[in-house]
């Protein structure tokens, strides 16, 4: 990939001997030689650009600020009241900045009978897990076969699914480590809910994979060029939407963080920036869910006219609003109703969808794989 900017090379001051690089044991000396070539410098700059700017830190911070502002304003508008108003320039835009700064200045409390190491590890893990899943999503085509993604692989959908299934372990760790009855109940509920909605998530992705013919998200988007997958797998879209809402626990299905019953689920004991991490990971999850939904069903970056990235961001913005609107329009399901919906209602729907996909592809040969 050729970048417009000229790359800096190692400075060799004429009068002095060149800087001796350390001599390292066999596996590393090859690495040192590779680091001296200009190709490595090009790769390093591009990777840091991806890590720090687009799918990385800058985008997450900006998206989180907009998401917090949008959600609280939307939530308030539905309540016929004005949300955060005095904090930032455009009617309270900097609300998350104020919350973040306040959380930075808070004291970090460690409950004395809790398992200290795992207690402090859990929020860091939950945040990193959310950020890692962003690494495998292709955002827009850069070249004929090239895509703007941190790590390109043919099985990116499988990796994301694997990362989704890691979430209950971290919540159970947090629930168990903070040694509080309510967090234990929250952890058990997390285990029930996330496992119950893992299977419909997989099955709804399966129907898309059958239509696209490969696990690679980029290929899935390429094959949606003329017809978005929402048309043939509409049932799959519904099942996927509901199960991602359960995975990132948004309102109608958020018995993990049910304020009214168990105080704050596994996150009851966290204060200060640890809670900031948890809140940030919640909004990163909303970003991932809307990216995945738009890539799998709404034809990722396909769209007339504008740059592919702009199309993806538009779709993702609208979808993240849909994820957030549940908080103010639906009361919360009880745990047995929720699990019953997951096991008995979503899975048959997803199976019907997989059957339709198979019929479309292999029997009627409508969609050429």
């Amino acid at each position: 990939m050729n970048l417009p900017i000229s790359l800096p090379t190692l400075p060799n001051i004429p009068g002095l001997p060149p800087i001796p690089l350390p001599v390292l044991p066999p596996p590393f000396d090859v690495l040192i030689e590779f680091m001296q070539t200009s190709e490595f410098m090009e790769f390093a700059v591009e990777l840091s650009l991806k890590l720090l700017v687009f799918p990385g830190l800058a985008f997450i911070m900006l998206y989180a600020m907009l998401a917090v502002w949008g959600e609280r304003k939307l939530h308030a508008r539905i309540h016929l009241r004005i949300g955060p108003y005095h904090v930032g320039p455009i009617f309270g835009l900097f609300q998350l900045v104020a919350d973040g700064i306040k959380l930075l200045g808070k004291e970090i409390v460690t409950p004395e009978r809790s398992h200290k190491f795992f207690y402090h590890l859990a929020p860091v893990l939950i945040m990193s897990l959310s950020m890692i899943t962003l690494a495998f999503i292709p955002f827009f085509p850069v070249g004929p076969g090239e895509y703007w993604t941190i790590y390109y692989s043919e099985y990116s959908l499988l990796i994301i699914l694997a990362l989704f299934s890691l979430r209950p372990f971290i919540m159970i760790m947090a629930g168990w480590a903070s040694n509080n009855k309510y967090t234990m109940m929250g952890a058990m509920r997390a285990a029930f809910q996330l496992l119950a909605y893992e299977v419909p998530l997989m099955l709804s992705m399966a129907s898309v994979v059958i239509l696209a013919g490969s696990f690679d998200l980029a290929k899935i988007v390429e094959s949606q060029a003329n017809m978005w997958f929402i048309v043939p797998c509409f049932l799959g879209f519904i099942v996927f939407f509901i199960s991602t809402m359960a995975e990132i626990c948004r309102r109608p299905l958020d018995i993990i963080v049910a304020e009214q019953e168990i105080v704050f689920g596994p996150w009851t004991e966290y204060t200060g920036m640890e809670y900031g991490l948890i809140m940030m990971s919640e909004y990163v999850d909303v970003a991932i869910a809307s990216f995945l939904t738009s890539i799998l069903f709404l034809g990722g970056w396909h769209g007339p006219g504008l740059h592919p990235l702009v199309w993806l961001l538009i779709k993702m913005g609208i979808l993240s609003m849909f994820f957030m609107i549940g908080r103010s329009t639906w009361p919360r399901l009880r745990i047995d109703q929720l699990l019953d919906a997951g096991w008995r209602k979503l899975i048959p729907l997803a199976l019907v969808q997989v059957f339709i996909a198979i019929v479309l592809v292999y029997v009627l040969k409508v969609i050429v794989v």
């Binding site: 904090v87 306040k102 930075l104 970090i108």
Partner: protein, 157 residues
């Protein structure tokens, strides 16, 4: 893995002037208060959350767990049985914490001056930052209480 070094750095940084102003600005404009009803001023808190006197304009939201809150609103009369729990809850809240005492009964035990089970004045139990008189105080008075607290935080008390 203790967090002592992080704590030490945080205290050292936070006494530098611009950093301190920024921190105080953040604390003032995002007061998360714990929903803990102690007495008979609850109807006014409900109209504070409602549309007409919306207190979320000041960035304040009621929060379920007291671990993440930094403001506790004492709504009304505090009896002796409630005072023990109030003290326990005040100790569990993380460090920069503030207290608003609502209503005459909380400030001086007003209406129940001769009752055998009422604590005469809540500052015998917890240090109070802002007193809001009235029984029950009108939502505008409570909003003014919030503004006073914000001014106090901005000055860094």
């Amino acid at each position: 893995m203790s967090l002592k070094p992080i704590e030490r750095i945080r205290t050292k940084i936070s006494c530098w002037k611009p950093i301190k102003d920024m921190l105080n600005w953040g604390r003032a404009w995002s007061l998360w208060w714990v929903h803990y009803e102690t007495g008979c001023c609850c109807p006014e808190i409900m109209s504070l959350v409602a549309a007409r006197f919306d207190h979320e304009r000041l960035g304040a939201i009621p929060f379920p767990t007291l671990r993440e809150c930094d403001l506790i609103i004492i709504e009304g009369v505090v009896t002796k049985k409630m005072a023990k729990r109030l003290r326990m809850i005040y100790d569990q809240m993380p460090d920069p914490k503030y207290v608003i005492a609502l209503g005459d009964c909380a400030i001086t035990g007003g209406f129940w001056w001769d009752s055998y089970s009422v604590v005469q004045g809540v500052d015998k139990v917890v240090p109070v930052d802002v007193y809001v008189p009235g029984c029950p105080p009108r939502p505008e008075q409570i909003l003014q209480g919030f503004r006073l607290l914000q001014k106090k935080i901005m000055e860094g008390k």
